[in-house]
Symmetry: C2
Subunit: 146 residues, 2 copies
């Protein structure tokens, strides 16, 4: 039964969140937090809607997951993000002590690996899950913006 | 008339926010955002109260100031923070494009300079304002915690 709960399965749900973001004029990034195969947070970037530069998908997801758990730390959780986290979100994920981060597309301009941020040493990192789709929706968004 | 509006003046208000945090069992860090000598946000760390690792003073301040301005960017604002921002908050301040950051005490363990984060290249940075007081309240808090 557990076989359906792959990284691709949850990333596809994060991608559907990215699509909601796209439809609302937001940079299309989605995030999902999973604990024991259960989704405890499902969010997307809301910076335009909330007029708030801090309202990235990951920040929303961390706050929402903590609310769901009733505790600050996400030690037994996995977060699925369609795009590599920025420095701010890497810092938030660091503080959350999330067990595992899975992201789709890399962000060579503003990703934390480029900006010089750090993740928690205990956090496992998996990259490139549904990379082509996660990247394609970003490219489509910015092409339409021009 | 403008002479009273020094960096020390606003940092003292940020310090009073840090004291509120202390009294509420929060790591005592305060932040104030100023535009044209007017305080548009005055906040403190709320991670325990909100059960949210992202609820640092700076994140609260950026969201609150953007709400006050009605726009995402803090291009003509100064933020006063009692302690050096962490990687997450440095990232948030980067996105906010805040004009000037003034902080009191350095954080040699979790500050952005140690963690490897970056501020916006256009942001002016002033450090060490009321450093002794900003540092003392942190030390007192952690000594009581032990």
């Amino acid at each position: 039964m557990d076989d359906i709960f792959t990284d691709e399965y949850y990333m596809r749900i994060a991608l559907s969140e990215a699509k909601f973001a796209f439809e609302n004029g937001e940079i299309p990034i989605g995030a999902v937090v999973v604990a024991n195969n259960r989704i405890i947070a499902k969010t997307h970037n809301l910076t335009e809607t909330l007029t708030d530069v801090t309202a990235h998908a990951e920040i929303q997801a961390i706050s929402s997951a903590a609310n769901s758990i009733g505790g600050k730390y996400l030690k037994n959780c996995t977060i699925y993000i369609t795009v590599e986290p920025c420095q701010m979100c890497a810092g938030a994920l660091y503080w959350s002590q999330v067990s595992k981060i899975v992201y789709g597309a890399s962000d060579n301009k503003r990703g934390y690996t480029e900006m010089g941020g750090k993740l928690h040493p205990k956090t496992e990192i998996i990259t490139g899950v549904l990379e082509a789709e996660c990247s394609a929706i970003m490219k489509e968004f910015f092409q339409k913006k021009r």
